[in-house]
């Protein structure tokens, strides 16, 4: 009955997070086998309950527990899958007591920014990874995602259920579910650094949207797939960023059209190219080690 802890304390005082839990935190929904990952944040009785339910092979019980958790702590941070101690952390370069240089900032909710900092602000090239797996890779100007960047949008594809007559009826409520998750994500920005609420508006609502995956079995029972499959990603290119390009006032970038500082969004990319890029990214992840392993 040895349960793997979500983290291992070392002699130096720091903790090494279980990579399984890291993976679980990336996903929106938690699998029952990784139940020990969320015990770090929950109060003691909930921890015990979770451990009990996860040790026995009872996914039904676990889902009931999750439901209970959802209705009891909807507004607090217990509903989220938190890190080791539910705290923000920064690892990287400092200057005069501020984040300056290259560094990684991880919020308590698991979102993280890896990239360059200046005077305590996200400035320059960086990547902001959201909880759901989306990430923005590009330029930041004084804490705002501004400039040349690509928003990688991980979403779900719909699996065809040809023999299911109630397909549309079942998928209909989940459309709103997805919309609600998007809304909650927006609210999340206002917690801490909010790099995506630029003065000209929140732009990521323009991201094209697809319904939640629905699966049906041979008994014509349909359900929404909880764990998101990262199958396709669409590139959303945001082109502005006069400051980033270092143009003088009055000058205009050759590729820039229209009003200055206006954000122009264009969706591009074929499925083939997207799959190829994704494979390349995975390859890079496999071959390289994280730079912050130096700290461990």
């Amino acid at each position: 009955m040895e349960k793997a802890l979500p983290f291992t304390p070392t002699a130096a005082g720091n903790v090494i997070i279980n990579p399984i839990c890291l993976h679980a935190r990336e996903n929106k929904y938690l699998h029952a086998k990784n139940a020990h990952c969320i015990t770090a944040c929950a109060p003691k009785p909930v921890q015990l309950l979770l451990l009990l339910t996860s040790s026995s092979t009872a996914p039904l019980l676990f889902s009931l527990t999750l439901l209970f958790l959802f209705f009891s702590f909807t507004s607090t941070e217990y509903s989220e899958i938190c890190g080791v101690s539910c705290s923000h952390r920064y690892a990287g370069q400092w200057l005069h007591g501020t984040h300056h240089g290259f560094g990684m900032f991880t919020t308590a909710s698991g979102e993280r920014y890896v990239g360059s900092w200046q005077k305590g602000q996200k400035h320059g090239r960086g990547r902001y990874v959201f909880k759901g797996g989306d990430f923005y890779d590009g330029d930041f100007v004084r804490n705002h995602a501004q400039g040349d960047g690509v928003y990688w949008y991980e979403h779900v594809i719909t699996v065809g259920c040809l023999w299911c007559p109630f397909f549309n009826l079942v998928s209909f409520p989940f459309i709103f579910l997805d919309w609600f998750t998007m809304v909650s994500r927006v609210q999340h920005f206002h917690h801490h650094h909010h790099p995506f609420s630029s003065p000209s508006g929140v732009w990521f609502f323009d991201v094209p949207w697809t319904p939640v995956q629905v699966r049906c079995n041979r008994q014509r029972l349909c359900w929404a797939v909880q764990r998101r499959q990262k199958v396709r990603a669409r590139r959303v290119r945001v082109a502005v960023g006069v400051e980033v390009r270092g143009l003088l006032p009055g000058q205009r970038h050759p590729r820039q059209r229209g009003v200055r500082f206006r954000e122009r969004i264009e969706v591009s990319g074929s499925v083939k190219a997207i799959v190829r890029d994704r494979a390349r990214r995975q390859d890079q992840k496999k071959n390289s080690y994280h730079w912050y392993e130096l700290f461990a």
Binding site: S87, H88, R89, G92, Q93, W94, H96, G97, T98, H191
Partner: protein, 68 residues
């Protein structure tokens, strides 16, 4: 290496409603070099100092309550 330099030194600053623990290298009564610094609010810093300022490579763990 001056006379005031000590390694592995533990220092506890006690003021009114302010407790901070420093553990690390000092030089001329300044934090200088690698060390650990803990604020009373719960923030914890482990890494490099240069004359009392956080400078160089370091890792900070923020208290979540401060930011919510």
């Amino acid at each position: 290496m001056s006379f005031a330099t000590l390694t592995g030194y533990l220092r506890i600053a006690l003021l009114l409603s302010y407790v901070a623990v420093t553990q690390g290298e000092f030089e001329h009564n300044h934090k200088h070099g690698r060390g650990i610094y803990t604020w009373k609010t719960g923030n914890k810093y482990r890494g490099n100092f240069e004359y009392d300022a956080l400078c160089g490579f370091g890792e900070m763990i923020y208290n979540a309550m401060n930011h919510r």
